[in-house]
């Protein structure tokens, strides 16, 4: 049963990811990404990380993808804005590089399956629960947690600098 669920979810995730790249309209790509994120949530569930799976759906598939949709709709992007200046040789070169990467990753994956140190380990009953994630987040990972908030602050300040009102860039005399 587990096995079947894993392969279905993994297959859906992979197929949606490939569909994402081949879509010509950005809006379709965004919707495929939602499918990828949902399929990943199923995989998290299988790893007994229920809380992360819920977060994945609420935050990624929900909130962030809505933002993506907003941006795509606001910018009103079309296919002809992307495909026009593509060089013909570039596509085959990209396929070559991408193919090499796929072979490399599958080699790594095979090595991983054969040498996985955690084969057959059973996790504790409360693994992945909200309580335990919370304890980790505010215990061992307190510093990274707090630093992430600084990172977000920087991103907000940066967005304001780059997209905010333009009078700041004037020479000093012109400012009151």
């Amino acid at each position: 049963m587990d096995f079947a669920v894993f392969w279905i979810a993994a297959g859906v995730a992979g197929a949606a990811a490939i569909n994402l790249i081949f879509q010509s309209k950005p809006i379709n790509s965004v919707l495929s990404l939602v499918v990828v994120l949902f399929a990943l949530a199923v995989l998290y569930l299988q790893l007994s990380a229920e809380f992360i799976a819920a977060l994945q759906i609420i935050i990624y598939a929900g909130a962030i993808m809505v933002l993506f949709l907003f941006v795509v709709m606001l910018l009103n992007l079309n296919q002809d804005q992307f495909g026009s200046n593509r060089k013909p040789g570039l596509r085959s070169f990209g396929v070559l590089i991408g193919g090499t990467l796929i072979i490399e990753i599958s080699l790594i994956a095979r090595a991983f399956v054969s040498s996985s140190p955690t084969d057959g380990q059973v996790v504790a009953a409360e693994f992945g629960s909200v309580a335990q994630v919370g304890r980790l987040l505010f215990g061992e990972y307190l510093l990274p947690f707090e630093l992430t908030s600084i990172l977000l602050l920087i991103a907000v300040a940066g967005a304001l600098v780059l997209a905010g009102k333009r009078e700041e860039a004037q020479p000093p005399e012109e400012r009151s």
């Binding site: 510093l143 630093l147 600084i150 602050l153 920087i154 600098v161």
Partner: protein, 476 residues
Amino acid sequence: MNLTMFSPQLLLALGGTLLLLYEAFGRENKRTLQPVCTILVLLAAGVLLWLSDGQVGLLFSGMVIFDRFFIFFATLVLLGSVLAVAVAAGSLAEQRAYHGEFYALVLFSVLGMLLLISAANLVIVFLGMEIMSIPLYIMAALRRSSSRSVEAGAKYFLMGAFASGFLLYGIALVYGATGSLRLEEIAAAWADGAGLSFVGISGMLLILIGLAFKIAAVPFHMWEPDAYEGAPTAVTAFFAAGPKVAAFAVLLRLIIWTFSISDPIIWRFVWMLAVLSMTVGNFLAITQSSVKRMLAYSGIAHAGYALIGLVIGGQAAVGLIGFYLLGYFIAAVGAFAVISALEGKQEESLSFDNCAGQGKTNPALALALALFMVSLAGIPPVAGFVAKFYIFEQAIQHGFIWLVIIAAVNSIVSVYYYLRAPVYCFMKIPESETPPAPVSLGLIFTLVFAAVALVVIGVCPELFIKLADSSAMWFL
């Protein structure tokens, strides 16, 4: 847990946040007070660092480490940032790139660098890298009216995001292979061979690629010339001072301490990076007509020289690279400071032709530029020579004759383009009169400090070499 050992980072985070608020709500004298406050915070962080000298420890359940290595490299970063901010205070508004948030971003970026240097966990390596880099992307695009500056920011951001992807994937693979994110546990897994699977080595190489982007080693250097040229020159000075030192520090901690350079794959990888960076950097620098772009390629070549220290390996590498970076970044910041003054209000970046006749109109600036170029080229008696000599000598002692031959040939080639700027300044007759360059107080401070430091280090290097060597005192 003793929080005093984390106080420099806390102070920087607090200072950055307060400066953001000050920018939003402050009214008068913002333009003079902001740089002063920034420099004071940076200096105070340096004092806090050295107050805890002699202590070692892991903090926040093994997330960050405090040791002599951290103190030394953090001091380099803080010093470089002070020099760059002093230049920025006068020249940002001049170049129509003034944004009050710049100073807060500097503090946040330095916070990221300190986190990188003190990281004892791969999560902190990643977060530190992002906290350091995101302000850099923004700073590169500060001159919003110039399309080159915006291009610099966009390019830097895209390449940086790409590098972060490599780093993160590498971290994930190393975690998969060793079952831990802590550097000490990874080192243990590495030592007993448990981590040396195909997965572990792939992960480690991906991490190294991510870091090679940050030190701009060939073939991961594409972003640097554009980012250096497009960014306002004071910002370029900051790029040369801080991020490189921090990236080298984390590279040292990972390679020497965690992954051990003796592994043949890593060794070959680093050797290749060193040779490619030196050669490609130097030969591309020759063809440049913009002084800033030339210095960007020279920065790539210098990363290659410093990587020789890593090829030598062992604890000696820490002192070698620390001392080399000390000599490099002071000269680079000084050179960019002169360029920013010579550019004045001009939109285009300074070309060699613009240098003509500067020896007459701005003799002090031209002389300073000559001194910095001489140091970068590695001609005695300034710091650049001692640093290069020291690294080459150690490499010969360890039997890397070929590497030293390649490096020496490169050094000789580099003299040509380094001396081109001073030659243009003093010997070429300008086509039109050059105006005297605007000189601010901060600029004078940076130039005098850099010039004196280079000569002092060049004349009595023992003290500084000892200091750099002492930074190899590890926590373990």
